[in-house]
């Protein structure tokens, strides 16, 4: 029996939705597959979860440079180096089904050379897709119509600032960790975020109105292996790692579903008022957005067009009717 050392890690603690499946699904699955496959190899896992080795701004470089052999890569923070993966953030109001998103992106990353190569260009092999549950508005005032968010200040950092264009809402910077204080003191009046992020940070205490607006779930990044490390492993280990990646995708989807469910019921018990924005208002919102995908398409060129079309085809194949055809006329 041969022991192989694999450095695995993430910028987030293992309790986090994106790191959870690495520790609780990926590692045990690799171990089990190797044991079942003749017990020829054993993995010595060297774990660096929780950001002690690298920060969230470094997830791509950490795996690319082999600081870990396998790690969580948040492509959402890598708009410059890996723009293609951010297609969902530029096409909001598509789907709230995060499990479907995992399935679509596992598939597309395998099938589309554009996506696969963009991982390989970064010296990485994509093993498993990571997502967020659906983005909605948590606010300290009730929202019954689109007009209600006019002239309000909402935390919407990074790409999500785009989604508020044309609504008359001022998007404010921030992060999951600042929303509570920002809303409590009045710096902002709400946040555009997802249940599994809001519940642990208790933002619902100061923003007791959840309005489901239909922005949808987002592809967040992937679990990836450093290509040099991967190439140095025996075939049996390589196969186990790939296979475990697929299992991890499923486990991640299940876990987010479970956590989002628990989060919702806990928040509702604590007094969260849940309502849904009327369909007509959702439609008015998305129709009123400027063509926010344009700068992304310019940046990504033909590859971006291919990825966008493939993504929207995949959605429609699965019976989803996105509120806006962001791929129209391409």
């Amino acid at each position: 029996q041969q022991t192989i050392t694999i450095n695995i890690g993430s910028s987030h603690p293992e309790s986090n939705i994106w790191a959870y499946a690495m520790k609780n699904a990926f590692q045990p699955t690799v171990d089990r597959l190797l044991e079942e496959g003749g017990d020829e190899y054993r993995i010595n896992w060297v774990e660096s979860y929780g950001g002690t080795l690298y920060r969230f701004t470094e997830t791509r470089t950490a795996v690319r440079d082999g600081i870990v052999d396998i790690g969580m890569v948040g492509t959402v923070w890598e708009g410059s180096a890996m723009p293609l993966q951010n297609v969902t953030y530029f096409t909001p109001f598509a789907t709230g089904d995060h499990e479907m998103l995992i399935e679509i992106f596992d598939h597309l990353t395998e099938e589309l050379p554009e996506l696969r190569d963009s991982w390989a260009d970064q010296n990485m092999l994509h093993l498993s897709s990571l997502i967020t549950d659906s983005y909605d508005i948590y606010s300290n005032f009730p929202i019954n119509s689109l007009a209600d968010i006019n002239n309000r200040r909402i935390n919407a950092p990074g790409t999500s600032a785009n989604w508020l264009q044309g609504t008359g809402t001022t998007p404010l910077d921030g992060a999951l960790t600042t929303y509570y204080t920002d809303i409590q003191t009045g710096v902002s009046e709400g946040a555009l975020s997802f249940a599994t992020g809001i519940q642990p940070t208790r933002v619902y205490e100061v923003a007791p109105h959840l309005t489901q607006v239909g922005v949808g779930a987002m592809y967040f990044g992937g679990i990836a292996a450093n290509l040099d490390s991967f190439g140095s492993w025996p075939e049996a280990v390589q196969n186990a790692v790939r296979e475990a990646g697929r299992a991890t995708s499923r486990a991640h989807g299940d876990y987010v579903t479970e956590r989002a469910g628990v989060a919702m019921s806990e928040m509702e018990q604590a007094g969260l008022q849940v309502s849904e924005l009327p369909e007509a208002d959702k439609q008015a919102w998305v129709d009123g957005l400027p063509n926010i995908i344009e700068p992304w398409l310019e940046d990504g060129g033909d590859a971006a067009v291919t990825v966008l079309k493939a993504y929207f085809d995949a959605l429609r194949e699965r019976g989803v009717q996105p509120l806006r055809d962001w791929d129209e006329g391409l």
Partner: protein
């Protein structure tokens, strides 16, 4: 040799070269580099992590507050706001035993409400209070110790950079952390006051160079012309304005804790301009000093970040987690081990690195053992702050030493002068750990 052994040897190596006088940032970077190279048997990796630590290590809006708080401190110092605060405290407290020392603590406590980093307080009051205490017969090392000791109030009384960082790491509300810091901050403040008065009474030789002369001055103070109420009021207006601006702005949602540094520096700039203390040459001097003080801290933070990545590769955080988890001592046994580890780390690492290493590991354990994360955070921050005052790496003491620029007063003498304050902090830490209500009462 296991990774853990190598890691421990590298900690020892760091302590040795730092004691021998190598620049601390250089020592952290060098041992970090050698460590990663040996541990992963790959020099390339040492370079790559070095590149990451340099480019990203302090690339955070939170760290942008450091030069701004320093700028505010220096502006407040040259526009004599610090001195005025101190003079008012002195006028009101001079009749007390050890009145000047008590005044320093009081002025520090007020000043803490506008600054978010301890070194800002340390820099300001070294210039303002230490020479004054020296003139009145205080031993300079003890006077410097008072300033270094009470500078920690800056990090406990809101706004506070350390409370912000803890809040971010433990995912608890920063506003709540700020409120939680107030009572412990005041408790420490009164502890320091009691300490100074007791020492002046029972161990005057520790406080004064010439005990008799000091006593005579103390007696004469009664006859001295003191400030009129009008003068006191006039001297207090700027600091009250600054405190109002910052606390008012924070709690009315006008700006965030992170933005407080920028707004505060701007407020201090306005005060300096209004007091006509700022011509072009002095403005340059202020900015130049801001740069030099900030860079020393920022480079240390980059280097400490790199070093802690090496410790992570050596498996030190995991080992600590295991140690803490397997201790099987129940909540307070866990807390004891935890605090001891933080105190030990405080000897060699900077505050931010300790929080980065310890909080993600220990906060979940603490929560599972039934601790309130806000209470746990205050305990953590006080333990971390003790590290600001302990050798060989005690940045508040270094700051006082640098700002004092007196060749007769050595770093180690200031460390000694600070020791009583460390003991008071340890005592307060015990109290706050035992009575969670002290930190949670205001929330």
């Amino acid at each position: 040799m296991t990774s853990l052994t190598i890691g421990l040897l590298l900690i020892l190596g760091l302590v040795v070269v730092v004691l021998l006088g190598m620049h601390i940032a250089v020592a952290l970077l060098a041992t970090g580099f050698v460590g990663i190279w040996i541990l992963r048997d790959n020099i390339d990796l040492a370079f790559r992590l070095l590149g990451m630590a340099s480019y990203n290590g302090i690339a955070d809006y939170l760290f942008a507050t450091i030069p701004l708080f320093v700028l505010m401190g220096i502006l407040v110092s040259i526009s004599n706001v610090g001195r005025d605060t101190f003079e008012v405290a002195e006028a009101l407290l001079r009749k007390l035993l050890g009145g000047l020392g008590v005044a320093t603590v009081a002025a520090n406590a007020v000043f803490a409400a506008v600054t978010g980093v301890s070194i800002a307080s340390a820099a300001v009051f070294t210039r303002v209070a230490v020479p004054e205490m020296g003139r009145h017969g205080y031993r300079l090392p003890f006077a410097a110790g008072i300033v270094a000791g009470s500078s920690v109030l800056g990090m406990l009384i809101p706004p506070s950079l350390l409370l912000i960082i803890y809040g971010v790491l433990a995912e608890v509300s920063i506003g709540a952390m700020f409120l939680a810091g107030i009572i412990p901050g005041l408790l420490l403040c009164f502890g320091f006051v009691a300490l100074i008065m007791l020492l002046a009474r029972f161990r005057p030789s520790f406080v004064y160079t010439d005990v008799e002369a000091a006593r005579t001055r103390q007696a004469e103070a009664h006859n001295d012309k003191t400030l009129t109420w009008g003068e006191i009021l006039r001297k207090l207006v700027p600091i009250v304005a600054l405190v109002t601006l910052i606390l008012g702005g924070l709690y009315s949602g006008f700006f965030t804790p992170t933005e407080a540094g920028g707004v505060g520096a701007f407020g201090a700039l306005l005060i300096a301009l209004m007091r006509r203390q700022l011509d072009r040459a002095r403005m340059w001097q202020v900015l130049y000093q801001t740069g030099l003080v900030s860079v020393a801290i920022l480079v240390l933070l980059i280097a400490a970040g790199y070093y802690s990545r090496m410790l992570s590769i050596a498996g030190i955080p995991n080992a600590i987690a295991m140690l803490v988890q397997d201790s099987g001592l129940g909540p307070y046994g866990f807390l004891l081990i935890y605090v001891v580890i933080v105190l030990l780390m405080g000897m060699i690492l900077d505050s931010t690195s300790i929080l980065l290493i310890m909080v993600p590991i220990s906060a979940p354990i603490a929560q599972s053992l039934g601790f309130d994360l806000i209470h746990f955070g205050i305990v953590t921050v006080i333990a971390v702050e003790i590290g600001l005052l302990t050798p060989p790496f005690g940045i508040s003491v270094f700051t006082v030493h640098t700002a004092l620029a007196d060749p007769q007063t050595k770093v180690e003498q200031i460390f000694l002068g600070t020791l009583p304050f460390v003991l008071v902090m340890a005592l307060s830490l015990l109290l706050i750990a035992a009575f969670p209500i002290l930190s949670t009462a205001l929330i």
